[in-house]
Structure formats: C-alpha cells, structure tokens
Symmetry: D2
Subunit: 132 residues, 4 copies
C-alpha cells in the first residue's frame, strides 16, 4: 500500500445542489471520480488516454457513507489513498472534508479494476508499477 495521499480542492457549485438545498447524493461520486483521475495523473496515468487505448478503468464496487451535507459555496477537499486489494483489483479510500471546520462529510471505499478491449479484467503494466 502506498503511503502517499492525494488531496484535491473543490468548491460546491450551485447547480450541484438539489431542491433540498444541498449537494445531490450522486454528485459526490463525481467529486470522488475527478479526484481519483487527478490522483492517477500525478502517478503518470491518464484515464482519458487509457480509454482511447481501450484500457478502461472501471469501478466494481462503491461504499459511500454520507455523514453530513455540503451546500452552496462550501469549500472542501477530497483526500484519496490507493492500495492493491487483490491480484486484479485496487481500492481508493476517499474522504471529503469541509475546509471551514475540518468536518468529515463523506467516506468512500471505491474498488476498481481495468478491462481490456475484450472486456476482460487485467492490470496494465502502468498500474502494476504503481501498486507494486
């Protein structure tokens, strides 16, 4: 497991809030996904470039604990840590933390793999190199 942790900063945009006046549940997955892709870029992996080569990183399971809500104008960070969990699977442990008071908003465990052009799971060498 990597000891490094990635931190991505965000600010809630009004269109992300729903009629309850808070960020819609699905939007948190967007925040987490964007953070994972930025994290992977810092490790030399570009999700879009892999997709063009028909190597598709995919999520196979997501566990999301919604502890508090974010609302209009809130600034927050997504903290992400990547680890290998089996021969063909890796996981991201992710937390969303509000800037103003350090309160934990959401915890997520996202398990993924990669699919080749024939939709078979495999880990490309670039990911093997990262996971060690």
């Amino acid at each position: 497991m990597s000891d490094s942790q990635h931190r991505q900063s965000f600010e809630v945009r009004d269109y992300e809030c729903d009629m309850q006046g808070v960020v819609n549940n699905a939007i948190y997955q967007h925040y987490l996904e964007h953070s994972r892709h930025e994290y992977l870029k810092t490790l030399g992996l570009d999700f879009a470039e892999l997709a063009r080569r028909q190597i598709n990183l995919v999520v196979v399971r997501a566990e999301l604990d919604y502890r508090r809500s974010l609302t209009s104008g809130d600034c927050f960070a997504v903290l992400s840590r990547m680890e290998r969990i089996s021969r063909l699977r890796f996981a991201f442990r992710q937390q969303i933390v509000r800037d103003s008071d350090g309160v934990l908003i959401l915890e997520g465990l996202i398990i993924g793999t990669a699919l080749n052009a024939r939709n078979r799971p495999f880990l490309p060498a670039e990911i093997e190199a990262i996971l060690g």
Copy 2:
C-alpha cells in the same frame, strides 16, 4: 419488511454516457434515486412535498455493486424493495436489470433516514405507517 417490489422502467439517454461510451458511474445513483422517489409516491409519500415541509429524506450509506455497464439506447428496469432496518433507519434493496437479456447490471443497498427542520433524525408518521 414489505413483500411488495417496485419496478421502474428506463432507457439510457446518450448524455448519460461518458467518454468510455457507457453510462457514467454516478448516473446509476440518479436512476436509483428516481426509482425510490417514484416508489415512495406509490406509497403516498412525495419527496418534494416533504422537502417543502422541511422533512428531508436523506441517504446515510450506499453500497453499489457494478456488475456490467449500460450503454446508449439500453432499456432497463430498476427493481426496489423497502424495509426497516432499525428504529430510525430504512433501506432500499435495488437492482438494475437490462431488458434485452435479463442480465443484472447493478445491485445497490441504500440506507436512509429522515431529518427534521433542525437536522435531527426521526421517522415521520407517514413513513412509520409504511414500514409497520
């Protein structure tokens, strides 16, 4: 636990697909949410009307198993079943099944509660009546 099951029909819209050519992970949460809200309507509960009365139904945990992907034009159903899991919490077991071949696309367990105007968990009488 209720023996009834709710079924909601959908068709993938092109704007829901991402650069991988399949439905984006977060969009499945939209499908599940819309199905839960329609299900609740059949039970006499309107999410929007509750929100206007400052009774906010909220998700506290989501577990999502992504088994296959949906793509442009796929028709599918979301099957939902609601049950009580504790004094203040209820759960929806939800499945997404593709029409063309009956293949299971996603399984979800969504745990929720309701918050009153002061953000305290409680179950309003209308939900108590449903959960029994």
Copy 3:
C-alpha cells in the same frame, strides 16, 4: 423542410431540480438533445453509432427561450421539427409543452452540422437523404 414532427414524452425527475425547486436551466438542453437523438433514430440515424464511425453530429448554435419552469413530477413533451438551413447546416425547432395544461415552457432553435474524422464539416449521405 420536413412536415413531420417528432414528439417525445418525459417526466421531471427530482434530481433534475435545483435549489430553486425547479428544473435547472442546463437540464432543458439534455431534454432537447435526447429528443433530437430519438427523432433521428426514427429516421434511421443513430448518434452513438455515427460517433463510433467518427461522424460527429455537433451543435453550432442554440437559442433557448425560457418561458416557464418545470418542477418535480411535471409531465411534458418535447416537440421537434428538423429542417435544412444551408448546404452544411440543419436546424431543429423544438418546443417543450407541459402535459397538464398545454403551456409552452421553452422554445429552442438548435443549429447543427456534422464533422468528419478530421473535424471538417460535411453532411453524410444519410443526413442528405433525410433533408432532401
């Protein structure tokens, strides 16, 4: 110009509403896009299949008149009519009409073209055949 008109039925989903409690402005473009793609399918053109062949239908201009708002649970139709407006451009005149009272919610004029694999505008034979 075609005399035919396409009609697509929708119901507002709660996640499409924003903190004002009405459908967010950008979402109407999703409704219009989905209607255009379904319309094209009835004419034998599949947007996704064209994209895979590197023929990209693109919007070059949109004029949207927002007359009223849609809200949670509203049922409505998108009416679309396609016409040629120049050698390389076509247009969709689209209206959103609420089912319950026939009120006009939005009028749109969407001008498009197609781009080939080298991003040059052209109209593929399938579209020429439709536009006549």
Copy 4:
C-alpha cells in the same frame, strides 16, 4: 453598462465529457451559470441566499455559439460582463477561452430577470444598485 469583466478559471473534468470524448453541450451552461454566480458574489449578491428569500434570478433567454470543443483536462476561463438591457432585464455576455492557446470556444448571451415570491418580474434594490 459596467466596464468590469469577471474571469473564472476551470478545468474540464472527465465526467463532463460524453461519448464523443468532448464536453457535452449542456455542461457549458453549467460553466456559464457557475461563473455568473461567482461574478454576482463579487458584487455582493448571493444566488443561494436570494433563493432562500424567495427572490429567484432566472434566465429568460440564452444564445450560445459553440465554436470549438473542450476535452478532458483542458483548462479554460469564462469571461463575463453584465449589463442592463431594459427596465426589468439584464444580460451577461460570456466567453469561454481555452488557456493553452487562447482559442475562443463558446460565446454566450444570457438574458435574465428576477422573480419575486409571486413569480412576478422585478429587480431587487441590490441588482438595481449594480446595474445603475
């Protein structure tokens, strides 16, 4: 008309791209909306706070010229200028410009007004003060 211009920086997120591998047409409206709201904040107006007071800023017309596409990872700015166009209406002239080469991606003219709690157009004193 104000001489000031507001500039908001963005980076394309992968989930904003559709199956064509470029930012979906509707997403540009999100970029424009977020920029307008941030612009208004610099002028002392908070869209969310106004909504809570039942003063709803609404778009009545949008003209969008799509010149080029943005894709995964592109950095860009939205430039916005606000002006009064009639007693009850104001407009934002907005441009999206790509950072890497200064290319104009989109031009928009967004016309808006405000609605009071009874859905009647009016301009609150705060906006009158800005528009002069």
